[in-house]
């Protein structure tokens, strides 16, 4: 079942573009990576889905309900971690979390103390006195305390140290195992690679590609490195891209029949050869060129 369905969604701020004719869907129980550089329209998309802003045209639905009509109903099942966390400065962490919990039915005390313990969050400090990373932790606890079935994470790891990042990922994986769908936006690809099932790549307000993370990685692209003396133009052949040379070290991406490139390589006296999978980061840069 589709948890999120976006159909030809467009948002203009006056004349400037937010997103244009965006269409995609997110399946129940998956972790969907939403990748793009700053200003590509990631936050715009999330804000549209949370009905913080209204679409210029197009449709978006969550749990099969129109986001512009059933916002409150939808949001009772949604957790949101904003990319930049701003909360009422004069409140204590505990107070803020209690205030947040009061909007969802049920008792969330135990859940809050569990999450605060995992994220090592001190409850009796004022929000004003917290560092950026600690505010982010408040955001994480606040986003998870009501056991949402859909999570929006907007560049969630900025400000967290590597140790906290790992704990956070463990937490997200744990939630995902319970069946929680995760919409994870980022411009940092390493983290998406470790966590996501599928990724959508957004660029200048348009979806460039949506694919399975393994397909994207395998997509027949090989990263080939050759050390040895050879002619500058020796690897200029169909299927080769991103060719770099540094002294005797040559590196390129290749997609096509691997035998052809091996034949070409065997024509030279080489010292070393490496054939590997490109990282998502590298594939990603490829989409940008």
């Amino acid at each position: 079942m589709d948890v999120i369905q976006v159909n030809e969604l467009t948002k203009y701020y006056g004349k400037s573009r937010g997103i244009e004719n965006l269409s995609f869907s997110v399946l129940e129980g998956e972790i969907f990576g939403f990748i793009g550089p700053n200003g590509a329209g990631k936050s715009t998309t999330i804000r549209l889905l949370l009905s913080l802003i209204h679409p210029t045209s197009g449709l978006a639905s969550i749990f099969g309900k129109d986001v512009t009509k059933k916002g409150p109903e939808i949001r009772s099942q949604v957790g949101y971690l904003p990319s930049e966390v701003f909360y009422y400065d004069h409140m204590h962490v505990g107070e803020l979390l209690k205030y947040s919990a009061s909007f969802y039915p049920g008792d969330h005390k135990e859940r809050i103390s569990y999450l605060a313990e995992v994220m090592e969050l001190e409850m009796n400090r004022k929000i004003r006195d917290l560092s950026y990373g600690n505010k982010k932790k408040v955001g994480i606890v606040q986003g998870l305390l009501h056991n949402p079935t859909l999570l929006f994470l907007d560049e969630p790891t900025s400000g967290l140290d590597p140790l906290m990042q790992r704990k956070f990922f463990d937490l997200i994986r744990e939630e995902n195992k319970k069946g929680v769908t995760v919409f994870f936006s980022s411009h940092f690809l390493g983290e998406v690679q470790r966590l996501c099932d599928r990724v959508g790549i957004i660029r200048e307000g348009k979806m460039v590609e949506i694919s399975d993370i393994h397909t994207l990685q395998k997509n027949n692209y090989k990263k080939i490195g050759v050390l040895g003396r050879h002619e500058p133009a020796s690897f200029e052949m169909p299927g080769v891209s991103n060719l770099h040379r540094e002294g005797e070290w040559t590196q390129f991406f290749y997609s096509g029949d691997i035998n052809q490139v091996l034949q070409r390589v065997s024509g030279f006296e080489i010292q070393d050869l490496s054939i590997g999978e490109p990282t998502l980061e590298e594939i990603f840069m490829h989409y940008y060129e």
């Binding site: 936050s43 904003p82 990319s83 701003f86 009422y88 009061s102």
Partner: protein, 269 residues
């Protein structure tokens, strides 16, 4: 309405209500304490006033007020209280949703499972409660200061009640207009210049219309809608104007709900 929001918003404004009510009390008590000595020497005071040009007197509404009577003197003080009440109400109206947007905390409530009308109603009722508390304190101080300093002379209690009552509509007017204006601009960075502008601007328009005697300008200024001189003289409100004012309040608040419902909340980044 959501109780948690109501309670939170109310707590936010306690100190502000205290400061406004305290300032109003200090203003009134200081002015009214001078009334006994003032009324004792009225002949001399009237002579001084007669030497002022009529334009000057018109600015302060002195041409229509008889300072020798208690209600006239109170009406004179009331003009300054009106200014304070206007600034306070405009401040609350302008800041009702814009402060959270400026401090970038607006996302917090708007991503909870609450509809926008629920959020606005909760905030609105909390603010109206704050204004009600201000009014109760203001009435109490007004009546107390009159009881303390009225002296022996007769006075018209109906005039005092009408004046105090006008303060309520006056605040509603500035509050609802402030709210509507704040929702008509994309982002309001600071509330105070706007509220001071709104209050002093309309006051100055009212004062000038007094000088020019221009009836059309009068209608633009709520200060002239509830001119203390006129209220004391007629012992009633100008009914058509009052009805228009109540309608403005209703329309401004309805428009605010509509604007808030379709508002795009600016992103923090």
């Amino acid at each position: 309405m959501n109780r948690a929001i109501y309670r939170y918003e109310l707590r936010q404004r306690w100190s502000s209500v205290g400061i406004w009510a305290g300032s109003l009390a200090a203003l009134l008590l200081t002015f009214m304490a001078l009334f006994p000595s003032f009324s004792a020497d009225m002949a001399a005071m009237n002579q001084v006033l007669d030497n002022f040009p009529p334009e000057f007197k018109a600015v302060f509404g002195l041409n229509a007020l008889n300072l020798a009577t208690l209600e006239g003197y109170f009406g004179f003080c009331f003009v300054f209280c009106q200014l304070c009440l206007a600034i306070q109400a405009a401040n609350y109206g302008l800041g009702l949703v814009s402060v959270e947007e400026d401090e970038l905390t607006a996302d917090f409530l708007l991503t909870r499972p609450l509809s926008r009308p629920t959020i606005l109603t909760s905030k609105l009722l909390a603010t109206l409660t704050s204004l009600l508390v201000t009014q109760i304190l203001f009435w109490a101080v007004s009546l107390a200061s009159i009881a303390m300093f009225r002296g022996e002379g007769p006075y018209e209690p109906r005039a005092i009640m009408l004046l105090l009552g006008s303060g309520v509509i006056f605040q509603l007017l500035f509050f609802s207009l402030g709210l509507m204006i704040s929702l008509m601009v994309r982002r309001m960075h600071s509330v105070t210049p706007w509220s001071l502008g709104l209050a002093f601007g309309t006051y100055v328009i009212g004062a000038f219309s007094g000088i020019l005697g221009d009836v059309k300008l009068e209608y633009l200024s709520p200060f002239k809608h509830f001119d203390p001189g006129k209220i004391i003289r007629d012992l009633q409100y100008d009914m058509p104007v009052l009805i228009v004012d109540v309608m403005i309040v209703v329309v401004a608040i309805s428009v605010s709900y509509w604007l808030y419902q379709k508002r795009d909340i600016a992103s923090p980044s």
